[in-house]
């Protein structure tokens, strides 16, 4: 516990008032002990208490609801889609789905094309007749 004398107690009360909660943490216990032990402390505390009462007579109105609303409106918030953005994203999703479908369709067509092309390229008429006479058979 720090030392406390009349001089320091007087300074403390003149600055921080009569309420011990407002006194500096590291001096509070010593000041409270001094106040209990020294009869001169009571007059100082009474004088300070009168000023405290005056100070705390001052009131400030609570912030208005309008101010609260304006302040909260500026707060950051998780990205949530607005109606317009939702519509835009739906449109994009539909477009992508359509594009995907077209892509899948064309890929499927592309996969089939060589067969049909081959079929066309090698139509029945164009297929050369097999010349078995030149065929060597090895058994």
């Amino acid at each position: 516990m720090l030392e406390m004398d009349l001089n320091r107690f007087e300074t403390l009360v003149a600055a921080y008032g009569a309420t011990p909660n407002r006194w500096p943490d590291d001096e509070r216990a010593a000041a409270e002990a001094f106040a209990r032990a020294d009869p001169r402390a009571a007059a100082l505390l009474a004088e300070a208490d009168a000023v405290d009462t005056l100070l705390f007579a001052h009131r400030v109105a609570e912030p208005s609801r309008t101010l609260r609303t304006m302040v909260i409106e500026g707060a950051p918030r998780k990205r949530r889609l607005t109606g317009r953005a939702r519509l835009w994203w739906s449109g994009l999703a539909l477009a992508l789905a359509g594009a995907g479908g077209m892509l899948a369709g064309s890929a499927a067509t592309a996969a089939l094309e060589p067969i049909s092309a081959n079929v066309q390229m090698y139509s029945h008429e164009d297929v050369p007749a097999l010349d078995y006479s030149t065929e060597e058979t090895t058994l």
Binding site: T11, L12, A14, A15, Y16, G17, R22, P24, D25, A48, A50, V51, L54, L55, F56, A57, H58, R59, V60, A61, E62, P63, L67, R68, M70, V71, I72, G74, A75, P76, R77, K78, R79
Partner: protein
């Protein structure tokens, strides 16, 4: 912000875009910031402007806020305090008209004086204090900042803060007794 910061979790959630956390932070801090600015500036409209500006900075900083030495409440006080002192400096740069005179003090004699009248009288007495005395009293008494935080915010030592507080209290008492006489 430090690990023991009572606002730390709330600020982190605000930074993540949690609107409920933002509402809770506003409920907790807006009255404090408005009261600080009103007592330093003596003007409600200006105080509300300052409080809004403080929160704009909070919203911008919340996502990137990292634990550090200062508590979030102290950081908010610093922002608000600086905004108020900037406004007060600009006011002093504007010359008062020659015909300007301080308003007459209102009497505080009636024993049955209403709480509102008493509050107004104290408000006027506060406004007439020397600016540094007013800052010391507002930060220590109304904002309830620990003496070291209040002193650091004002850029002075604890001894100087105590001196300003004692002189401010004496001046306030004298002013109210004068209006009471």
């Amino acid at each position: 912000m430090n690990p023991d910061d009572p606002d730390g979790d709330l600020v982190r959630r605000v930074g993540e875009g949690d609107v409920h956390a933002a509402e809770a932070l506003v409920a907790r801090k807006l009255p404090r910031m408005t009261a600080l600015a009103q007592r330093l500036l003596g003007d409600r409209a200006e105080a509300e402007d300052v409080a809004q500006e403080v929160f704009l900075r909070v919203w911008k900083s919340a996502a990137s806020w990292r634990p550090g030495a200062a508590k979030f409440d102290t950081w908010m006080h610093r922002v608000a305090f600086n905004l108020c002192t900037d406004r007060l400096r600009k006011r002093r740069e504007v010359a008062l008209p020659e015909t300007w005179d301080a308003p007459d003090p209102q009497p505080l004699a009636d024993a049955a004086i209403s709480a509102e009248q008493q509050s107004d009288a104290v408000g006027r007495a506060l406004a007439e204090l020397a600016p540094r005395q007013r800052e010391a009293i507002v930060l220590t008494y109304y904002q309830e900042l620990p003496n070291r935080e209040a002193a650091a915010l004002m850029g002075i030592g604890v001894d100087a803060l105590e001196s300003l507080l004692a002189r401010g209290r004496r001046a306030l008492k004298a002013r109210l007794e004068e209006t009471d006489a």
